[in-house]
Symmetry: C3
Subunit: 279 residues, 3 copies
């Protein structure tokens, strides 16, 4: 793992800056100054302002990127006392950003947490540090210095996971006393009007197996006082146009959609809403 990280110096950026601002270009430039051979991947800059749930969900998908340093700047608390942190994962990545929970869900997709440090060593910051742009002055420099070989211990003292601000959502799990039910949260909506739940593929498969449900069968969705039947599918075309379906999405989660339609528009749900699935 270490060698892979050495071979290619990958930094990914995930922010709520929007793509039309200079903030992203400036972070690229900051990295180029400190680590000229880094390769920067813009993972996603269209996170809604300050939306920790959608941001955490986007960051989960770095498991599909090469092992590297993944910087996430969704930072409503910048300028306050909130900490900056680096999380080293078991896969070998470094997640870098504010201690507001946004980095945590991704660790589940990267084989867990190996070490956490608080970023306090000003030697590895752009000084003077702006009170409002830690992406440029703290987080991007940390990524560049890590790729240059600076040890994570040099950035500050170690933290324990339980000292961190909690994740904006948990993993949905199966309860032994109620195997026909999963209580979930909407963690993302996409431009086609589908939504995604905090249920991973393994949990969903286990749920279907235990309840003897298979492709083409129906599940019950409960949300906002509504009750709706949705068809278990592999892809959109397996249900009629305008019909609801539930399937595994492209990034390790469960998606609910309407074939050639918008679930969001029809049923008025949004990120953060609770959804209960019953077999």
């Amino acid at each position: 793992m270490f060698n892979l990280l050495k071979k290619q110096k990958i930094i990914s950026l995930t922010t709520d800056f929007g793509v039309q601002t200079r903030g992203i270009g400036i972070m690229h430039g900051t990295i180029m100054k400190l680590c000229p051979d880094a390769k920067v991947i813009d993972l996603m800059h269209g996170i809604p302002d300050f939306d920790l749930i959608t941001g955490a969900r986007a960051l989960e998908t770095v498991y599909d990127l090469p092992i590297g340093c993944h910087v996430c700047v969704i930072d409503p608390g910048v300028g306050t006392e909130r900490r900056g942190i680096i999380i080293q994962t078991t896969r070998g990545d470094y997640l870098i950003g504010p201690d507001n929970g946004v980095l945590l869900p991704a660790t589940k997709f990267l084989n867990g947490i190996k070490k956490i440090v608080k970023i306090t060593n000003t030697k590895y910051m752009n000084n003077p540090v702006s009170p409002i742009f830690h992406g440029r002055d703290v987080f991007a420099p940390a990524a560049a210095h890590l790729l240059n070989g600076v040890n994570i211990k040099e950035f500050g003292s170690e933290l324990k996971e339980e000292e961190l601000v909690k994740a904006p959502y948990d993993e949905a799990s199966l309860k032994e006393d109620s195997i026909n039910t999963i209580k979930a949260t909407i963690i993302d909506v996409n431009k086609f009007g589908s939504f995604h739940l905090n249920i991973n593929h393994e949990t969903f498969d286990t749920f279907l197996t235990r309840n003897e449900r298979k492709l083409g069968d129906k599940l019950i969705l409960l949300f906002r006082k509504k009750k709706l039947l949705v068809t278990i599918a592999n892809t959109f075309g397996e249900v009629a146009r305008g019909k609801e379906l539930i399937m595994k999405d492209d990034y390790g989660r469960v998606e609910v959609a309407i074939n050639q339609g918008s679930f969001i528009a029809r049923h008025k749900v949004k990120v953060g809403d609770k959804v209960t699935i019953k077999a």
Copy 2:
């Protein structure tokens, strides 16, 4: 040509994902994992959803990029039986994407088609292949493997051009029995409200010469039961503010515009509309 492709490993990406999604970043990451020395150019990600005409038009402009692998993911049929294909061009490029016609118009700008194969060899895919994201699991990997030296024949069996789904538009051409007329299709509109036709520069020049029309002369445009005189120009400033003009655009096609105004807004035309030009 071959050497040029070897020297620089260029991959361009053209999609309808929009720039605010993680799909683009994930395709970059997929390429970095398989071919670390590839250089990825984002040609255009703002194609309207599923718009094959605008997508095919955007892809035409790769003739202005270095010779390389050009991936196009405008793919309304993903998850169905539609084929994935690679088209090798005479210039030396590889066009990679769904067999829905979107790749074909670009071949006219790249000196024609040399070979076509169907992508079926799972050895060169990310497995398991998602039923809804072939950009990541089939097309981007194909580009990376081609740049790594895998021969096009390794991806699957050869197809003939006549076996492919047709292009979303043809080349407008001059009819010998009606030299004062060109029947054309709108293949693009831009943010300033101009539109572009499926007429290439050579055809337009021949049309003007045969009909003895020159800069400053007028042509007749027929569309949506309207008849309109437009001035032949080289650039906007050659007609008065608010006046219509017709000229060669920046990417090998013919553009119709209003100087400092929006043709689209004034005359209510859209991509796919038919336009007849008369001398």
Copy 3:
């Protein structure tokens, strides 16, 4: 400085193309063809159409990028007789774009102007040059050739600063006969609804010192026949939610904002408006 530029071949791009067009990708491709080892940073492509003030302001922030070639294509006069120019700065950068004033404010942040040339040598252009896309055919090629070692003198004859079209805004300065007043111009607004003034940090600090104002004190803002008290702060959280503040921004200028609110929406100001600050 020269060596730094040699070591890393940085080109930044700032345009009003918007991120959803192929123009940006084509400029990347043009650069890759001429200078394969260049690294291209997209500084900002979301400048409002033809907005020279916002564009000039965005370009100022290249001082935060590595020394390099900075191309700016905000070019309402393309196709007319306006000149294309290269400005060499004392820091070692090259600013490349139209002679319409947009390049000038950035020179103040790059230690001033060393040399200016008019781009006329067609040897370093993509021929034939399009009358409407000099970004591709004149400016991007100039950047690539400079990084390849072509001397600035080769591009055309030298110009003096006073021969150039003036900057779209001046630097706000302190008048000796009226030390409690600064007359300023709004040069940028951001997505949160704050605005930025043409006052640099040093001028602002001097103004506060001379007038014995410090953090937490108030200043008077005069604009659009309104008079408003704003609090001097370091960051948003130092005033109550919904209150106005004035502070140094992240890119060398002075920002006026509302904590967790939009100044623009509440007070109806826009880029180009005059604002007078009184102590």
